[in-house]
């Protein structure tokens, strides 16, 4: 009986020549979905090495096999390896009578301030007392932008909820690290649960600005460092994350420097199924995507659905 089945299923061995065109197509497909090109290459290479020499049944096709294998790889990369339960962390800090702090960092215009405000809304819904620290002291209107958000969020607060929001600001031109420090002190003295630290956008190659960010992090040692990246970004995603991490390491002057703890992926509503940035970012950092920004209002903050992203990535 076994012999019969064995015959029927053929048992061809998969060689490089058979895989090449299929993988080439897969690579282009991933790039078209906005996955960084070198990451697409790495992924295809790893699929190749896991499939070479494997037996292929008569009924199986190489392309299905590649697709299945890729699906597994994508799922693995996108699935968080650490806890993304920020509320639990906040509770732990609270138990120690200490304000929990989150710093939002990233390049210009990606949505740091807006998504900080969305996170604030979410925390308010969970009845926390939140202090927003306006540490972008450079970009025109940055302070007023947060002032408007704080005002809006206050107005949205229903009378029966215990959540509360306040803005901590010191105007423009001042040292961001110092303001963050003062904000954290203020929060601890005034019974705030969470401090959300907004920072100025900066290019990853701008050394003076990257140094000052590293200083802000080193001085304040926030509980979470969240990199805000937009889903629109292409190959630059890799360079941004690598260099932000590198700067936190190189310019901190600390024995045990910090790194990016996770990401918020913004403007997810602007890219249809070209969801590759989600993969580029998780692949590059090995860190989770805490939230996905899906619009410009306070409720447009969602959890990443890994299966949804994988599906979009593989969809033709």
């Amino acid at each position: 009986v076994f012999g019969f089945f064995k015959n029927l299923t053929g048992q061809r061995e998969i060689d490089a020549a058979t895989l090449e065109p299929v993988l080439q197509k897969m690579k282009t497909h991933l790039i078209d979905k906005n996955v960084a090109s070198n990451i697409s290459q790495h992924l295809c290479d790893s699929v190749q090495s896991s499939l070479l020499g494997k037996k292929l049944g008569t009924f199986g096709s190489v392309s299905t096999l590649v697709k299945d294998n890729m699906e597994t790889a994508l799922k693995r990369i996108l699935t968080p390896k650490t806890s993304v339960d920020i509320l639990r962390d906040i509770e732990q800090a609270k138990a120690r009578s200490r304000a929990y702090s989150i710093t939002f960092i990233g390049v210009n215009g990606v949505g740091k301030s807006t998504n900080l405000s969305k996170v604030c809304f979410w925390l308010l819904q969970n009845n926390y007392r939140v202090l927003i620290a306006a540490c972008d002291t450079f970009r025109s209107g940055a302070v007023e932008q947060l002032r408007v958000h704080a005002r809006n969020l206050k107005a949205l607060q229903s009378s029966h909820s215990v959540g509360e929001v306040e803005l901590f600001e010191r105007g423009y031109g001042k040292d961001a690290a110092g303001i963050a420090q003062d904000a954290i002190t203020y929060a601890n003295n005034n019974d705030f649960d969470v401090v959300l630290i907004d920072t100025a956008g900066r290019m990853q190659d701008n050394e003076p600005l990257m140094r000052s960010l590293a200083k802000l992090v080193a001085v304040n040692n926030p509980d979470k460092i969240i990199f805000v990246g937009e889903a629109l970004v292409g190959n630059e995603a890799v360079d941004q994350l690598t260099k932000f991490n590198q700067a936190l390491k190189d310019f901190s002057g600390l024995q045990n420097p910090r790194h990016i703890d996770g990401m918020i992926l913004t403007k997810f509503d602007t890219i249809d199924d070209k969801v590759g940035a989600a993969l580029s970012m998780t692949y590059t950092t090995g860190q989770p995507i805490y939230f996905v920004g899906t619009g410009q209002t306070y409720t447009d903050l969602k959890n990443l659905k890994v299966s949804h992203v994988v599906q979009s990535l593989l969809k033709n």
Binding site: T28, I31, D32, K33, N34, A36, S37, N38, V107, N108, G109, V110, G111, S113, T114, S117, F138, R139, S140, G141, A142, V143, E144, Q145, L146, R147, V148, H149, N152, M203, Q204, D205, N206, E230, A231, L232, V233, G234, N235, E236, A237, D239, Q240, K243, K267, D269, T270, I271, D272, K274, G276, A277, Q296
Partner: protein, 306 residues
């Protein structure tokens, strides 16, 4: 430098061609693989890259090319032509005329750099002697008017906006009318960020345009944008019929290939490049000299003109 990485890779692919004793199918394929790989790594649209490859292969056709033809020259010329076509749509950008009001409207995706670029552009024209003003019709984004106001104040450029009016069409029209009456030469109108997936936002953009009838609409694009560029650019083109493109944030590591794909998708030229957050960080852009510079070639007339 902008696109330098890409230029270097393409250069080295072309240089490999020079080292090869004969140009056969294999050498050509190798070169195309390198060039296309470099373009993809710079966010140039996938379909555009595929087309470029096909075009070059068809134009060169190494097997049929007679022995008398200098194949290397032919390949280099074809590559150059294709690259130029990629960045240069051949359309003339809008030029403001003296003696009347020139209304320029800025549109683009959220956070692309519109507001910042508005002031940079106004400053650019002001320094050239034009009487320039700014209008903020972004009533959506928190702090949008303060942002424009602070920038305009720094640049000493008159501005118009409102903290209370919520209708962007009304503000845009009021501002433009006011500055027209005051005989300004160039009036630049800032608008909210928007995206093609939200049709109401696009409708609003059309209404602003219908209200102020801009002489020129400029699509502002983030230089780091990836493969979503093509779709968004096409949609903006269709809804706002912009005449030119400004790419921002080119002071970093970005190679701008996504934005370049928008040129091909919309047949609209890039007119300026943003190279920083400050007022003067705006460079003029001209396609052909740019490609020439990008490939580190002094004079390409040899290749391009024949």
């Amino acid at each position: 430098m902008v696109l330098a990485d890409l230029g270097r890779k393409i250069n080295s692919a072309l240089a490999d061609l020079n080292k090869a004793p004969v140009i056969d199918e294999q050498v050509l394929d190798g070169m195309l693989k390198d060039i296309c790989g470099a373009l993809l790594a710079s966010d140039v649209n996938v379909k555009l890259v595929q087309r470029l490859r096909t075009n070059i292969k068809a134009a060169v056709n190494v097997q049929e090319a007679g022995a008398g033809i200098n194949k290397k020259r032919l390949v280099q010329k074809t590559v150059m032509d294709e690259l130029c076509n990629l960045v240069d749509p051949g359309a003339e950008p809008y030029k403001p005329t003296k003696g009347r009001a020139n209304v320029i409207m800025m549109v683009g995706l959220q956070g692309a750099g519109k507001t910042t670029t508005c002031t940079k552009l106004a400053y650019h024209y002001q320094r050239k002697g034009w009487k320039t003003a700014l209008v903020c019709s972004d009533t959506f984004r928190a702090g949008a008017f303060d942002q424009l106001k602070q920038n305009a104040t720094k640049a000493k450029i008159p501005y118009y906006g409102s903290y209370t009016e919520t209708d962007p069409v009304a503000i845009a029209m009021e501002g433009v009318d006011k500055f027209k009456a005051e005989k300004f030469d160039i009036i630049i109108v800032d608008t909210s960020g928007r995206h093609k997936q939200e049709s109401e936002l696009f409708e609003e953009m059309k209404q602003i345009a219908a209200g102020i009838e801009p002489d020129s609409t400029i699509f502002v694009m983030d230089g780091t944008i990836g493969q979503a560029a093509d779709g968004q650019a096409r949609a903006f083109k269709e809804a706002a019929d912009f005449g030119s493109i400004i790419i921002t944030k080119m002071d970093g590591h970005a190679k701008g290939g996504g934005a370049i794909s928008a040129v091909a998708a919309t047949q609209s030229p890039i007119v300026f490049i943003g190279t920083g957050e400050h007022l003067h960080d705006l460079d003029r852009f001209e396609a052909r000299p740019f490609v020439r510079k990008m490939l580190g070639m002094g004079d390409l007339s040899d290749f391009v003109e024949k």
